[in-house]
Amino acid sequence: MASVPPVPSALPKDCPPPDAHAVEASFLRFVSDKHSIGDATDAADWILPYAQPKSMYYGQVEDCECHAHSLLADEADIAVARSHVPLFRKKKVATVTITPTMGVVKHTPEDLGASHHDWWTQPPGLVPAATVTHE
């Protein structure tokens, strides 16, 4: 299992962006295919892009979006992502409930995922409690 790399001492300037806001809501996230339904996710599922060695964003500590987790609010977007991007067909999906103390989110719609959100956790590097809910 991959270990979580050290969290930088500070986020980039003006990060999170001012239009990110606190919410109380549930979101979906693609996680490792090694999980089963009902499993809790683990730290490896919550490695930020700047710290994920296999990510294109690896090492980009100055880029604010590389400090945010991708989430989807709409289950339909999970199906769209899976039909268009084969990588996601093998992934499991976890549900995470975010409360205002857990950071801020920003709606960042994609061509293929209108419900895409970026989540800057509080504290940075937080590994939240989340459960695998979808095959």
């Binding site: 991959a2 693609f30 892009p49 994920q52 060695p53 296999k54 990510s55 294109m56 964003y57 690896y58 090492g59 980009q60 880029d63 987790h69 991708s70 992502a81 899976r82 039909s83 268009h84 991007v85 084969p86 990588l87 996601f88 067909r89 093998k90 994609e110 061509d111 293929l112 995922g113 895409h116």
Partner: protein
């Protein structure tokens, strides 16, 4: 923008991401371009503990437009590439791989689903934005009327000419008929006065994506300012589309409408139902005001049933023995002859009867029982009464119950 996978010589140098279609913790479906201008469509197909695996497909400008507009599916883009297909990996701790692969060897679980197509704005047509229509109307100091058509079998900014001709004619005829009512010149038949036809005429200004948006405006001709009649009539049409979502409100709205306009609205709803279209209509006024109404397929079907229920110009014709002279499932056209009277009927087939029609034999020796809805309608520019027929049911005579 982020860096791309470590590219070897196969993908060229200076590879940069140009357009991302889906990003989840980093781009997973995107277009990249190398220093020589060669573009690649890239899609993440797999990963391991240490690397993400992408397929890179070289694409020409024309091919990219076709992929972005949905003309070519993502799967087709990979299985029938214009050039060599490449496998590439990202991963700081992984051995970088960039290698050419045979498109016929790509495993099915590495291919997008057959139905997966993009539908994003391409350079062929600008993407429609409602707010932009309001701003444009204000800057051009004229009204703009946009009609967005969503048809499940249409994935691109293209539309069959016969269907588009019928739809545009329906819209113009409704606007003319409503304008005649607004001018207190409504008649059931006969021509509409020329000045009303002129002042309520619409012009096609532009086509936009997606999937198919027409921007119309009152015809200016040699006038310097637009006449208000077309805009007011388009506004009434928006109100009708709004009302169609509620049965009682729609009945009340249509009950105030005179015979000609009623028939024209019914023609419009028939076309929407026949072609399985959802419609969004937007009216932007020069002061920047924007009105919108949407009508999905369910609302259109319910609206048409109400219009048929209360129509005063319809007659149902039940033919016990008829011969099918011609039928075209694609164009939904039919022609049949009543064996008892020799009278011929031709027109459109209603969606429910299309399945019944499929596979039926034409010509003598095959006798069918049919139900036809006969409707009178009235042209705007002549006193002719037009009779239209819609085939509602057709069965073999021996099977008819």
């Amino acid at each position: 923008m982020s860096s791309t996978p470590r590219a070897g010589t196969s993908l060229g140098s200076g590879l940069e991401i140009e357009r991302v279609f889906f990003s989840f913790d980093g781009p997973k479906l995107f277009v990249a371009r190398n220093s020589t201008g060669q573009r690649f469509l890239a899609v993440a197909v797999d990963d391991t503990e240490t690397a993400v695996v992408f397929i890179y497909v070289p694409v020409s400008n024309e091919r990219l437009v076709a992929i972005k507009s949905g003309l070519i599916s993502l799967r087709e883009a990979i299985t029938t590439p214009e050039g060599e297909l490449f496998l590439a990996t990202t991963g700081e701790n992984a051995t970088p791989i960039v290698k050419a692969i045979d498109p016929t060897t790509v495993a099915d679980n590495w291919l997008p689903e057959p139905h997966a197509r993009l539908s994003v704005s391409t350079s062929t047509q600008p993407a429609f934005e409602a707010a932009g229509l309001g701003k444009r109307a204000a800057s051009e100091t004229r009204s703009l009327f946009a009609l967005e058509l969503d048809r499940p079998d249409m994935l691109r900014t293209e539309y069959p000419v016969p269907d588009l001709r019928d739809f545009l004619e329906d819209i113009q005829e409704v606007v003319h008929a409503i304008a005649a009512e607004a001018e207190d010149k409504a008649t059931s038949a006969g021509h509409i006065p020329d000045y009303i036809l002129r002042d309520s005429e619409l012009s096609l200004v532009e086509l936009q994506a997606a999937s198919f948006v027409m921007v119309l405006a009152p015809t200016l001709g040699d006038r310097m300012v637009e006449m208000p009649l077309a805009t007011a009539s388009a506004g009434r049409l928006i109100s009708l589309l709004e009302a169609a979502g509620d049965e009682d409100v729609f009945r009340a709205e249509m009950s105030t409408m005179r015979k000609r306009a009623f028939a024209k609205v019914r023609d419009l709803f028939e076309d929407l139902v026949d072609t399985n279209v959802s419609i969004h209509a937007y009216l932007a006024l020069p002061d920047g005001t924007l009105r919108h109404a949407g009508l999905d397929r369910v609302d259109a079907g319910r609206g048409l049933r109400i219009l048929t229920d209360v129509s005063q110009t319809k007659t149902e014709v039940l033919i016990e023995r008829s011969t099918l002279i011609g039928a075209n499932i694609r164009t939904r056209a039919f022609e049949l002859r009543d064996e008892a009277t020799g009278e011929k009927y031709a027109g459109k087939v209603e969606p429910a009867a299309l399945r019944q029609l499929d596979g039926l034999q034409l010509g003598a020796g095959y006798v069918y029982r049919a139900r036809i809805l006969r409707e009178e309608s009235f042209g705007s520019a002549s006193s002719d009464v037009k009779i239209t027929h819609r085939l509602q049911m057709i069965r073999r005579a021996i099977d008819a119950k």
